[in-house]
Amino acid sequence: MTFNCYNKPMSENNKKYSIDEISELTGFSRRTIRFYIEESIIKPPAGRGRGGFYYDSHLSDLMKIKNMQDSGLNLNSIREILKSESGNAQILKEQEEVFENYKRDTWVRCEIAEGLELHFKRSIEEKSGRKINEIIKIAKNIAKEI
């Protein structure tokens, strides 16, 4: 499982680093960086295999880990925090999806006159609320004739 802790999507920054450069910048040994990749604590480098390159997002993730280590946390605790952050992000994402589904799937009932209703999906209302209101007005005018 990969824990997504990136601040920026890769596509937003094109600066590339070799493993030596990323090691120099973060103070982590090459061996430690490889271990973090093996353990899915950070994402693997882009490109093919070990010869791949690293982005600012890798740098930022490693610095984040470094800062936590400097404040006395060991890797197992850091893993938990990353998992939890990743977990929180996931929950928000799921909530949004649920809401989207709710909006997409929910039908709204509007009584035009006694015994007469207009049904439409909430998502249509959001998308074309003005038109829906016009339809309701027209429908109500027509319904007066019943």
């Binding site: 040994s29 090459r30 271990f35 093919r48 295999g49 060991n74 890797l75």
Partner: protein, 797 residues
């Protein structure tokens, strides 16, 4: 599992394990050994792999060779600084070349990485080391660990270089693996060997002109226990010194083997009263045979104490408790209570938190006397350096003797703790007789440490180790890098407050190849590594660390000996079509769980809570095959039935325990019945002195019980209150005389601990002035033993 098949592939979680098998070839000559370990890998999968295998080696070994054999190519490894070696390995993997790396994680745990093993391809890795055997008197022990027992990592243990310690020292564990071990040992000097005993495995023996060859009696064996080979030579090792001049550098190296033997009596009746604290590991990993063995050892030690000595017992796991708040005076009553305390002891105290009981012990330092501590443990911890540091800081007022037990104890930790306080250690395999080893250790505690050792080197000589721990009757090897050959070496010291001095002539090895430079390098590196553990904090620490690290790397590279700061690395450059395409899949090789670890028996999986202290995954999808016979060949009659209660007064005596050689080769068969008998006699010593009367012992000695009883009635004494127990007195006096006259060759085992009986007999003589037929009793007893004892009792076979 059919271990007699040739090496086959294991399936763990449905995937092939790329390690096919391990072969060991060992050459033993006196106290030295050279060992080549061959590990065979094959990738039967569809993708290229990186195989990572953690394996153990003896902590004293100088690992000086690393080769990868790929088809007909031999690629020799070079020693490089650890991170540089990894970079070479990593870059070779990135290029698609074959890459091979050997890292030292602990002095006794190594990690081998086989990078870019293409589908269908094989790689053979050879690791070579040299080491000195543990030796004492005329005995030498060859020891080879085969598996790593799970190490307990305390929760608060910091990471090392950002990686949890658990990841670097604990491999994946499996209840069973299909790869096995083949071993072949060649022991030189056949005519100097008295016997060979292998308590851990069944062996078959063959003979060369000057050598004895030992192999497993089955083709391969499971790698779930240490391999132990005890070699008894006909004569004691002697002090000696060799000089070797390295061709390339012109530097001279000396190996100085010290084996002092004095005739000093081991027990002084006026010796100071001692305080002995017994510390017993009751963590979960000790469950099963280990805790039984530990309790047995503790009882032996308690029986060996002298009236008036002070003692206490600590039991520890995640928590610790003790026999009494402050050390108790040893007498009949406290001995009985202590026995009850031990009887109720189980391996049920959780993790191996060894620091807490040691802190508690050391904090009470108001006594002016040295405190003797005997720690009985399997040593399965990951925070070795923290414990060793604490022990070293308290070494001025404490001697920590250690007893390592179990099928795979942490040998490095057990030896290093004792070494840090100038004490001694003993590792006892579960199938070995524990009594002589424990009593030997107890003797060292009571007597025989040679203090203030000074060695007369030429000026400019660099000695390793600089602190020499040596006991009378023991052996130690010291190495030196020197500027020139010297004719002899004068060694002096103090033994029991008496000066001791001896001169050892130096033999020049001339053109003969010698491992002495590598052994010196290993000792020098170890010493520097010990210094790293002990450095104080702050900037000073960092400066000293850097300088120490640089020195370790320099020596390690110069002599081609691996260290904590260096690795072996080799690269197999490949043609374009041979190169690995894409990323290799990581395959961690599982190792077999140590036999009887946590008391796990055949057919029983590890209960989940029991494993919770260990972060590493335990692969449990295989059945345990422990119940199946491992050894088919029954040519050899090694009786492995060591009885946990063998030191109890009601146990029966078994004869002829160990016969390491073919029955057809009569001249090498030895009988250990004298030793059994001796141990049985000692087991009947009373806490306050004297021996419990045993008709069975008398029968074995050839002495008629009724005759002795009638003889006792002839004793007259000066008392008028009939309180003098003449039979008890005579029996004890006869037994002690038998020990003195017939077991003088074994006095290391009995002399120190029978001092209390000698004192008790002297008190009886002073109080009651016993006579027999109006003769002085001592002379009568000598004659009585001479006339009545079975003649063969005194014979060394």
């Amino acid at each position: 599992m059919d271990t007699d098949n040739d090496f086959g592939l294991s399936l763990i979680n449905g995937e092939a394990v790329p390690l096919e098998g391990v072969k060991v070839k060992a050459y033993i000559n006196g106290r030295g050994s050279k060992v080549i370990i061959t590990q065979m890998f094959k990738n039967t999968g569809k993708n290229a792999i990186e195989a990572v295998y953690k394996f153990p080696l003896p902590s004293d070994s100088a690992v000086c060779g690393f080769r990868a054999i790929i088809g007909d190519r031999i690629i020799r490894g070079e020693v490089e600084e650890k991170e540089k070696a990894f970079k070479i390995y990593d870059e070779a993997m990135a290029k698609g070349d074959g890459a091979y790396l050997l890292d030292e994680e602990r002095p006794n745990i190594f990690t081998l990485s086989v990078g870019n093993l293409n589908p269908g391809r094989s790689a053979i890795i050879e690791v070579e080391y040299i080491s000195l055997l543990d030796s004492s008197g005329n005995d030498a022990k060859f020891y080879l660990p085969t598996t790593i027992s799970p190490r307990y990592i305390p929760d608060n243990m910091p990471d090392q270089n950002g990686i949890p310690v658990d990841e670097t020292i604990n491999p994946l564990f499996a209840f069973d693996v299909d790869y096995g071990l083949k071993i072949s040992v060649e022991i030189s000097g056949k005519n100097h060997i008295n016997s060979i005993d292998c308590p851990s495995h069944k062996l078959k023996t063959s003979y060369g002109t000057n050598s004895i060859f030992q192999e497993f009696s089955s083709n391969t064996v499971k790698m779930d226990r240490d391999f132990v080979l005890n070699i008894a030579y006909k004569e004691d090792f002697k002090s000696r010194a060799y000089y070797f001049e390295a061709k390339n550098s012109g530097a001279g190296f000396i190996e100085l083997d010290l084996s002092p033997r004095t005739d000093e009596k081991k027990e002084n009746s006026k010796s100071l009263q001692k305080e002995i604290i017994f510390v017993l590991d009751c963590s979960g990993s000790m469950e099963g045979s280990s805790i039984i063995q530990a309790k047995n050892a503790l009882e032996i030690l308690l029986r060996a104490m002298k009236p008036g000595d002070k003692f206490n017992i600590y039991r520890f796991g995640s928590t610790f408790n003790k026999f009494c708040d402050y050390s108790a005076i040893y007498d009949d009553a406290t001995f009985a209570k202590a026995l009850a305390f031990i009887k109720n002891t189980e391996a049920d105290l959780g993790g191996t938190e060894i620091l807490a009981p040691l802190y508690d012990l050391f904090k009470d330092d108001d006594s002016k006397n040295i405190k003797n501590i005997i720690l009985i443990t399997d040593g399965e911890v990951g925070n070795e350096d923290d414990v060793i540091k604490l022990v070293k800081l308290n070494s001025a007022k404490n001697r920590l003797f250690t007893v390592g037990i179990g099928y795979g104890p942490n040998e490095y930790f057990i030896k290093e703790m004792a070494n840090a306080t100038g004490a001694a250690s003993q590792i006892v395999h579960p199938e070995e007789r524990i009594e002589p080893k424990i009593l030997g250790l107890f003797n060292k505690l009571s007597h025989g440490r040679i203090e203030n050792i000074k060695i007369g080197w030429e000026e400019g000589t660099q000695q390793s180790p600089s602190d020499v721990v040596l006991f009378d009757g023991g052996n130690v090897s010291i190495f030196a890098k020197t500027v020139k050959m010297q004719e002899k070496i004068i060694v002096s010291g103090m033994l029991d407050d008496k000066p001791l001095s001896f001169a050892i002539p130096v033999i020049c090895l001339g053109e003969v190849e010698s491992p002495i430079p590598q052994l010196w390098a290993r000792e020098a590196i170890k010493e520097l590594e010990r210094g790293m553990v002990m450095q104080p904090g702050s900037a000073q620490k960092r400066r000293k660390e850097k300088s120490g690290n640089d020195k370790i790397i320099e020596i390690s590279k110069e002599f081609g000996v691996i260290s904590s700061m260096t690795s072996f690395v080799s690269v197999e450059e490949r043609s374009e079509e041979e190169k690995t395409k894409g990323a290799a899949v990581l395959k961690k090789i599982p190792v077999m769980l140590t036999k009887d670890w946590h008391g796990l028996k055949a057919g029983v999986g590890a209960p989940a809570p029991l494993m919770s202290n260990y972060d590493s995954a335990l692969i449990s999808n295989k059945n345990i095959c422990e119940g199946e016979p491992l050894f088919e060949d029954s040519n050899f009659s090694i009786n492995r039935s060591v009885r946990p209660d063998s030191f109890k007064s009601n146990s029966s005596i078994h004869y002829l325990r160990a016969k390491a050689f073919s029955p057809s080769d009569k001249k090498f068969i030895i009988s250990n019945d004298r030793e059994e008998l001796l141990l049985e006699i000692l087991s009947l010593q009373k806490p306050s002195g004297g021996f419990e009367i045993s008709e069975e012992i008398l029968k074995l000695l050839g002495i008629d019980y009724n005759n002795l009883k009638v003889t006792a009635k002839k004793i007259t004494d000066s008392s008028f209150d009939n309180k003098f127990a003449t039979f008890q007195f005579l029996y004890s006096a006869v037994i002690l005389e038998i020990l003195k006259s017939k077991f003088s060759d074994k006095k290391d085992s009995w002399e120190a601990i029978t001092g209390k009986t000698e004192n008790w007999l002297n008190e009886q003589k002073i109080n009651y002035k016993p006579l027999i037929d109006n003769q002085e009793i001592s002379e009568f007893i000598k004659k009585y033993v001479l006339l009545n004892l079975r003649p063969e009792i005194g014979k060394k076979i």
